[in-house]
């Protein structure tokens, strides 16, 4: 069997200075088993069309410049073997920039929003430093391990431009900024932790607007799992008393109310508890529709009151909550 495959590359083309609309150009290449996506981008530029534009720098998966999307999958061009993608998607590869609405030229996008949001979380150690210290600041292995892998982020933007919350909500800081916020907040040398936790607890920009789609975990070429860091930030907000009672925090904490009583989430209670009784009016229309369809029902004879069946051995759940709960609102 030959080591090469014929692959069609469908490349997104747009020059913000001269084009009114984007278009796609197709290239057929014979692709070898060791070729990376970046090799293919180079071949298009060097052998077919010198105007084709993309970013590249280190070629070692550490500068973050070469992020693109291939068939919708966030990809670091210099790290990604091309035939592996052919395995995944077949022999037509759709090469697009990370975010089509931010394109400057072809694969090159304006990442200003990414860098602004990154800067907003103070992605550096904030500390009063003695300019002439007697000895260096040491960290134990345990302290270092708290970073998890967040320190390995190369700011490629793959997660950020894969995130649907970033796409819809322009205030949302996004998974890379949260990863950085986590990284520096758990650093024992840092003194701005509380400030970062407060920033990331705000409704709109903060972690509570994450839709939990796990696109960021899937997208990251360094396998950093940003949503894992988001969960840690959530927990730290409660641990450090930064979390204030609001619809989001009560929604997270409120699960325990139903679980203590029935072992199960009380669907009606969680809405009224999270929103507060005044906020409930927003949901009246939906509640009526659900009631009509039989989606709200009750076991005690009265809607919303004791409407949930109890699990078997509920006492175990009650006891486990009592002895294992570490946070409070």
């Amino acid at each position: 069997m030959s080591d090469t495959r014929k692959v069609t590359l469908k490349t997104f083309r747009f020059n913000a200075e001269t084009d009114y609309l984007p278009y796609y150009k197709h290239y057929e290449l014979e692709v070898g088993k060791d070729e990376l996506m970046l090799d293919l981008l180079n071949r298009i530029k060097w052998e077919h069309d010198g105007s084709f534009s993309y970013r590249r720098s280190c070629r070692h998966g550490i500068c973050g410049a070469c992020g693109i999307k291939v068939n919708g999958k966030a990809t670091l061009a210099c790290k990604q073997n091309a035939l592996e993608l052919v395995e995944l998607f077949g022999d037509e590869l759709l090469i697009e920039p990370q975010s089509k609405k931010r394109v400057v030229k072809d694969m090159i996008i304006d990442k200003k929003d990414f860098w602004d949001k990154h800067a907003e979380v103070k992605p550096y150690v904030v500390a009063e430093i003695d300019p002439h210290p007697e000895h260096e600041t040491k960290q134990s292995i345990e302290e270092f391990n708290k970073f998890l892998d967040a320190d390995l982020c190369i700011q490629c933007g793959s997660c950020h431009y894969a995130c649907p919350a970033v796409e819809v909500n322009e205030d949302f800081l996004g998974p890379a900024a949260f990863t950085a916020a986590y990284r520096f907040t758990v650093d024992t040398r840092d003194e701005a932790g509380k400030e970062r936790l407060e920033l990331t607890s705000q409704m709109g920009p903060g972690v509570w607007d994450c839709v939990k789609c796990y696109e960021c975990a899937e997208a990251c070429p360094k396998e950093i799992n940003p949503i894992e860091k988001i969960t840690k930030l959530h927990n730290m907000q409660f641990e450090q008393g930064v979390a204030v009672p609001n619809v989001a925090t009560r929604h997270a904490e409120g699960f325990l109310r139903g679980m203590k009583k029935y072992g199960l989430l009380d669907e009606a209670d969680i809405v009224s508890y999270s929103e507060g009784y005044l906020g409930m009016y927003k949901h009246l229309k939906t509640a009526l529709k659900m009631l009509k369809a039989g989606k709200i029902h009750w076991h005690s004879g009265v809607p919303f009151i004791n409407s949930v069946p109890k699990i078997k051995h509920l006492d175990e759940v009650q006891k486990l909550i009592k002895i294992s709960q570490t946070n409070k609102l």
Binding site: F255, M259, L265, G294, K312
Partner: protein
């Protein structure tokens, strides 16, 4: 084929706002000769929210659920993507972190339980496809769904993060999932191809970020409608709730009429297997869906 036996983790939703999910699941299992034991001891999985409040507690409670499947010596099956992910995340965390497993087991010992890690956790969709087999399902089809264009909506938590699911979802490609499409084909329906089939429905921020939630659901529904879907099908009751219950609001936010029946995956299978109207429970939908039953008749 030897008889398949599973321990069913129903999750909260199938016991409350989507009773049709439970009844259609049980009906499908019965028609296919799959033996189901409901885990009546199981508690809520935390629905990806409890973990934000207290991750350790969420692990303890999820581990307890898995203990009951282990006691029966059965694979634990789920009928909700989020239950699947939360349970699988706890299993993964405990199976790869001995220190965490010891801390969790210390708590479980207080109620006489021990998490061992012996039970697999799988969504019913993948049991049907990977264990029962599409060929076997094809043979049982009584009512082909050939006059329906069906939009598969996969939901996030069955397919991402793919690393975590690989042993449980047959290596589904999260960028181009095919399991539901294959199932639709096996039932002789016409799968609709549309870009948003693997995107997020926005359910989890319905309360705190309503606009984001409606836009995400709307984008997917409009994409399906524009590709001629007669109905949508999903393996996740939370996607179902978002997309079935909020169609008015979604339409209002995105400025377009949105009307599309959204079926649970087992309801679709139950339709094709010729289960009764009551078992399928299409009357429990906010967006009218009962006509689908008469159209197959």
């Amino acid at each position: 084929m030897s008889k398949l036996k599973y321990a069913l983790f129903t999750g909260c939703t199938a016991k409350q706002s989507t009773p049709e999910l439970l009844s259609s699941t049980l009906a499908v299992a019965q028609k296919l000769g799959i033996e189901i034991t409901i885990l009546e001891e199981a508690s809520c999985c935390g629905a990806s929210h409890l973990q934000d409040f207290d991750e350790f507690l969420a692990h303890v409670l999820n581990a307890r659920n898995i203990c009951y499947a282990e006691k029966l010596g059965l694979t634990m099956i789920t009928i909700c993507n989020t239950c699947q992910l939360n349970s699988a995340m706890t299993k993964h965390a405990l199976d790869t972190d001995p220190e965490l497993k010891a801390r969790v087991n210390e708590k479980l010992a207080e109620v006489g339980l021990e998490y061992k890690g012996t039970s697999e956790i799988k969504h019913f969709l993948y049991c049907l496809i990977d264990e029962y087999g599409l060929e076997n399902i094809k043979e049982k089809v009584k009512v082909p769904l050939s006059h329906f264009n069906i939009a598969p909506f996969y939901g996030c938590h069955n397919i991402r993060p793919s690393e975590l699911h690989h042993n449980a979802n047959g290596g589904e490609n999260p960028y181009n999932p095919t399991s539901l499409d294959q199932l639709i084909e096996a039932l002789e329906g016409n799968p609709v191809n549309y870009d948003h089939k693997n995107k997020c429905c926005g359910f989890h921020v319905e309360l705190q970020a309503n606009h984001t939630s409606e836009v995400l659901a709307g984008n997917a529904m409009v994409d399906a409608i524009d590709n001629n879907a007669d109905l949508m099908v999903t393996p996740c009751p939370l996607c179902h709730l978002k997309m079935d219950t909020y169609q008015d609001d979604i339409g209002h936010v995105i400025g377009r009429d949105v009307e599309l029946p959204v079926l649970h995956m087992p309801q679709m299978v139950a339709l094709a297997l010729g289960c009764t109207e009551k078992e399928i429970g299409l009357n429990f939908h906010v967006q009218k869906a009962t006509h689908l039953y008469s159209e197959t008749a």
